[in-house]
Amino acid sequence: MSFNIMIVDDSTIIRTMIKRTITLAGIPTGIIVEAQNGAEALVSLGENWIDLIFTDINMPVMDGVEMLERISREERISDTPVIVVSTEGSETKIDRLTRMDNVKAFIRKPFAPENLRDAVEAALSERIQEAANA
């Protein structure tokens, strides 16, 4: 079993860091789709089946909050687990984000690789269970 991953961040270095961390953690991956902003991500979500989304919040064109709101309105993808990886420091905004059904974790930059790995394992545990029961 492998998981299709989407990484949404306007920073190429952060996308590469997340990709490397996932690979080094030994998480079985299928395709890894990258997007520079929420708008690009929504297009890719229409074209690919994605098991887990990593997203930043502050991005040009369409930010992470708007992207997550749009995802929540689309039945096909509304339950795709999301890990937010951001420098966001407002507890008000973090609280609002983590109350969204599909947001499984908030990781503040800079992050330790093990925190990212633990969040991925927790976020994908439901998908693994679903596959086992299928």
Binding site: D10, S11, T12, I13, I14, T16, M17, R20, L24, N58, M59, P60, S86, T87, E88, G89, S90, E91, T92, K93, R108, K109, P110, P113
Partner: protein, 162 residues
């Protein structure tokens, strides 16, 4: 006080994210860095108060930081190609971690995307800081120069918080 907060947050981010360590202050960093050997990035933020931040670092340190962020070797071609992005992302991290230190954790800020700029532009911003509310911090990091600046635009009293 603002200088101290900027210095502390910048030091923590450089150490935790890029695994580079501050040797001390470097008052002559602005003179030592120039357009030939420095990479610079800037970003704007808006919320309870608005402003901009910039970061400049020597070319060789930028490459080391990019490699360390990626968990790669200095010779990795990705470190070379991503050194400007590394400066921008570290700046983004410093800004995101500094604003709650100044404004508290309730206010929400919109942080713009970092963009690469010439070192001359950051020097001009440094001159603006001298005339207004802001902070300029120069550090020696692994024997190389790093300059960070914070400029607060409005009169919302941000300077009075620190």
């Amino acid at each position: 006080m603002l200088d101290e907060k900027l210095r502390q947050v910048a030091q923590r981010i450089l150490e935790d994210a890029a695994f580079v360590f501050v040797d001390g202050g470097a008052e002559d960093a602005i003179e030592l860095l120039n357009g030939e050997n420095a990479l610079s990035a800037t970003l704007e933020f808006d919320g309870e108060f608005s402003g901009s931040m910039s970061m400049s670092a020597s070319y060789s340190l930028a490459k080391t930081m990019a490699a360390n962020l990626l968990g790669a070797d200095d010779l990795d071609p990705e470190a070379e190609s991503k050194k400007t992005d590394a400066i921008g992302e570290l700046l983004n991290m410093v800004c995101g971690n500094l604003l709650p230190e100044i404004a508290g954790t309730s206010p929400e800020f919109k942080i713009g995307a970092p963009r690469a700029v010439s070192f001359d532009e950051t020097k001009r911003q440094s001159a603006d800081i001298a005339r207004s509310n802001g902070s300029l911090v120069a550090m020696s990091v692994e024997g190389c120069e790093v300059v960070m600046s914070l400029l607060i635009n409005d009169e919302s009293g941000a300077g009075e918080r620190v």
